[in-house]
Symmetry: C2
Subunit: 166 residues, 2 copies
């Protein structure tokens, strides 16, 4: 595992974008210690028109940013292994996620799933459960955050904290 | 060709989304006659960070809407034949395009390239040049609008006008 060398008191918003479910997690990284500030998911109904779903994601994310006041956002980057329809759906959501980030004046970094795995567990072949266990451990939580998309978003936020050198 | 049966004086914004270049065209459809109100493209530099490019698209589109005051937007739908990287790029742009549309309170319809071809030329195998010639003819223009993305956006707007029955 990488040593968590972080800027003092940095507040990071991690996001795992998706049209059906967008995970978010806000952590505070201070001297290598992490605390969870907020975390959850934005769900949108599959039956709803796409533009309404994108608006829901945009508006809710704006609210999360304004409530939790992060200094930087870390977003899981697109990966292309999954099927095209899923990838499209993620890409559209990602468009409005990035817009919400820049409209809020936040810096933004992207991390691939591989980078997240490597940052949290030290190697790229960690499975989902190992990542989630690390999220729980590093944030001193009693349980793995649910649902998965929230845990994934927190993992991206932690990855950013670990990747940022003083 | 379909008979252009349209709502009187309907103003339609057609959009052909893309991260590098988003085409737009505003037409007025009145009793089966079409006039071009505005048309152009929003270009974003390839070197720029993605979130800045998406912001440029969003902000410029907002301006086009506020300047031209369309009642409805017609957007070219995603098509999956092209390579995944291009499709991703289009999907991200499309996310912010749809957000700009709903934030402006516009109705919105989507049309596949096939639907656009069929509406404008009556058959689905028309080539790009035939479509562009029809755009020029139907809008009574002296030349085919340039660049292609602008002509495509106008074609989508015309397609909507032709598909809308009283």
């Amino acid at each position: 595992m990488l040593q968590p060398v972080t800027i003092q008191g940095m507040r990071i918003l991690g996001i795992d974008p998706g049209t059906g479910i967008t995970g978010f997690g806000v952590i505070e990284a201070d001297k290598g210690k992490f605390t969870m500030v907020d975390g959850g998911v934005i769900r949108t109904p599959a039956k709803q028109a796409l533009e309404l779903r994108l608006e829901t994601i945009y508006d809710n994310l704006k609210e999360v940013i304004s409530d939790t006041k992060p200094e930087v956002a870390a977003v899981e980057s697109l990966f292309f292994a999954q099927n095209v329809t899923t990838a499209m759906s993620v890409a559209q959501a990602r468009g409005v996620v990035l817009l919400a980030i820049i409209k809020a004046g936040l810096d933004h970094e992207e991390y691939t799933p591989l980078q997240v795995k490597q940052a949290l567990t030290g190697y790229g072949r960690a499975d989902k459960n190992q990542i989630q266990q690390m999220v729980k451990t590093l944030l001193n939580l009693n349980e793995i955050p649910k649902p998965d998309d929230c845990a994934d978003a927190l993992a991206v936020a932690i990855c950013h904290a670990m990747s940022t050198r003083l």
